[in-house]
Each structure stands twice: as structure tokens, then as C-alpha cells.
Symmetry: C2
Subunit: 198 residues, 2 copies
DNA sequence: AAGACTAGAACGAGCGTTCGTTCTAGTCAA
DNA sequence: TTGACTAGAACGAACGCTCGTTCTAGTCTT
């Protein structure tokens, strides 16, 4: 999985693309309410009028971001399901994906991870983090049927398998880890799988 | 560990206490920027003037909340270190504490977990989640010296041990789990410890 | 020339904050 | 005991500023 394959917002030349890329950065870095529309105007180089023409209002920008990110992440998870079989391979692929994504576009990861707890769009936030989790739980639950995963509550098992990886991602985003996540992948995966292997 | 032992804000009669309790609830439920000072005035029953007299400004309220929570959590972790010996017992005690705390005062847990990603006090946020993690890493690292924990990067090991528990807490706070966390404790702990046991 | 898009000045609502006043409790002199 | 005095706490109307949003004149493209 090359870093470029998970790029969400390649350098855009159109208004929509420029505004979304700017908003993602500013919202993530300083928060939705600390980001004024006029700042988006300044940084993106687009005018107030054109922004309101395209997005309706400030919340419309956040909504558009959401839709783009949710769709892309769903697609990435579907990809993993299609390309790998078996709980172990799929779970490992998910962790690898998340690590790659974090290194390639930390803002995207931060946006997704904390969507639920951001102060805007409180009712839409959970979608962002709940759907990936449900996928993980399904992977694990199916592994349980085949005996690949030991019998535990599927929710507990799923939480165990990728809880450690998520924690590492948080640490990386917080600047605690100096080396890229890729270097920890094997150790993280070993711990994760041990927790649910029969 | 009885739920009452982890109560942060018992019903208060003084202005400071009432404002802090109100702010915790409102900030957690609807966010810092979605909460106006006048709403705190209305809900807490205290006047604008007295709030500014006690806290200086709106940010002062958040700062005071922070200090109270960080101090209390540090104390709880120290308590665990004093009362238990060995990595396994300490780690399990931490998970149990976090589960109890989540059930007793979900707002406190939410405030602490997402402090880093809230839109206010961006430079103070990390303290709140980083310090507990450092404690966990120390517990695990010392367990490694005695052979109680297998040799892995201590950060990875710490992340593995309580990553799963944290994920469960997130799910509970998001309303995904219907049963209280206590009922999952044994299974969560079994998974957690397997991931780092020799 | 016509339509789609852009520009940025202007607007009004709502916010955090201030400030002059009142209230309360404690202290002391007579 | 009473009255005067003081300091801190509480009050809430009013202020000024910033923000999201609108509007109209202007600029491209075809």
C-alpha cells in the first residue's frame, strides 16, 4: 500500500477542491469554531461569494468534508475485504492501512478519529468512527466461526485487535512517537493477534 | 472500587462548584464553543458578574476544570501504584478504575479522553491523556524487567494492554454497548494481558 | 451579449466582557 | 447591644467587537 493510494485531497485547482483542502487543514489544526470563514477565504485564495455559492454556509463545508471522507474510507475497507480472506489477514491489512494513512495525511486521520467529539455536526460524527469499527467486528466474528479467532464477545475481540493500533496512532498524532508507525507494525500486530488467537 | 470513590463533583452549593459542575456538563455535551457564558449563567443559577469574579474569563473556567480533573486522576493512579504491586495487578486495576469512572461520571471520562482534540486549550489538552499513558508504560516497563511481561517495545506493550479497554469505553460513551462496562471486565482483561504475557 | 461565477464591502445578530452598584458577613468602637 | 465601617462576593444592564452571511457591482467565458 503506497502512501499515494490513500491521498484524499490531491492539490486542487478548482474552488471546491481548494476550499475543502484548506478547511480540512484549518479545522483539524485549530478547530471548527476557531476557524473563521474569512480565514478560509484568505488561505484558500477563493472569495467569500464563491464559497457561499458552492457550499451554502459554513456547515456545508464541514458536511462536504464528511461525505468525502466517509465515502473514501468505506471504499478502502471494502477493498480490504475483497483483496484478503481470513480474519488475521484482514485485520492486519486494516492496521497497516490506518498506519499508512496516518503517515500520509495526519489531518484526515485526526478528523476521522475525533469526528464524534468535535464540536460541530455532533449527530453525524459517530458515523465516521462507528462504521470502520463495525467492519472490524464483522471480520473478527467471521473468524470466530472458522475457529481462527478464539470465542469471546466479538465486540471485545474487535476492540482488542485494533485498540492497541489506535492508541499508537493517537501517540503518533500527539508527537510522542518519533519514528513512523510502519516501524512498529510487526510488534503491534503480534500483540494484537495474540490477544484473540486461540 | 465503589462508584462514589471516583466522584469528582459532588452537588455543590457554592458558586465555584456550581459553575464547574455546570461547565463540565455543558462543555462535554455540546462543546466549549457551543456553550455561551450566558447559558452557564442560566443553568448554574450564578450571575455573570460572580462568574467573572471567580474565573477571570471563559477560558478560566475551562482551566479550572482541567486542573481539578488532572489532579484527581493523578491521585487515583498514585493510589493504584501504592496499593498494588506487579504489572498485571496494576494494569488490571487501571482498567477497572477507568471502567468504574466511565459508568459513574461519563462526562468526566469524555472530557479527559478527548481533551487533546477539543478546540480549546490546545496546548494543555495533551497533559490530560499523556500522563495516564506514561504511568501505564512505566508499570509495563517494570514488569518487563521482572519477566512478568514479555520483551517488546514498552510503548507498544502499554498501548496493547489498555488500547482495547479504551476502545470499549469509547463504545460505551457512544451508546453502542447496552450493558455496563463492568460486565466486560474479565474478558477485556483476558485479551489485554494475553497480548503482553510471556 | 448573456450567463455563470467572483469579489469584497456592508450588515445584523450574538458573543465575551466590563463596570457601577448592591448585598452579605465580619470587625470594632462606644 | 448597637451602629459605623470594610472587604469580598454577587448582580445584571450595557458595550464593543467579531463572526457568518448577504448583496450588488464587476469579470470572465462562450
Amino acid at each position: 500500500m503506497a502512501p499515494d493510494d490513500v491521498k484524499f485531497f490531491p492539490p486542487a485547482s478548482d474552488t471546491r477542491g481548494k476550499v475543502l483542502a484548506t478547511a480540512l487543514q484549518l479545522f483539524t489544526r485549530q478547530g471548527y469554531f476557531n476557524t473563521s470563514v474569512s480565514q478560509i477565504v484568505r488561505v484558500s485564495g477563493c472569495s467569500t461569494g464563491s464559497i457561499y455559492h458552492h457550499f451554502g454556509d459554513k456547515e456545508g463545508i464541514a458536511n462536504a468534508l464528511f461525505e468525502a471522507l466517509v465515502a473514501r474510507i468505506d471504499a478502502l475497507f471494502d477493498d480490504i475485504e475483497r483483496r484478503h480472506s481470513g480474519a488475521a489477514k484482514r485485520c492486519r491489512a486494516v492496521i497497516e492501512l490506518l498506519f499508512t494513512l496516518t503517515e500520509a495525511e495526519p489531518e484526515v486521520m485526526e478528523f476521522v478519529l475525533y469526528a464524534r467529539h468535535r464540536e460541530f455536526l455532533p449527530e453525524r460524527g459517530p458515523i465516521c468512527s462507528a462504521r470502520p469499527f463495525r467492519k472490524m467486528r464483522d471480520f473478527v466474528a467471521r473468524g470466530m466461526e472458522t475457529g481462527e479467532v478464539r470465542a469471546v464477545d466479538p465486540v471485545v475481540a474487535a476492540a482488542s485487535v485494533y485498540g492497541g493500533a489506535l492508541r499508537m496512532i493517537h501517540l503518533r498524532l500527539d508527537g510522542v512517537l518519533e519514528r513512523p508507525l510502519g516501524e512498529f507494525l510487526d510488534e503491534v500486530w503480534a500483540c494484537a493477534w495474540r490477544s484473540v488467537a486461540p
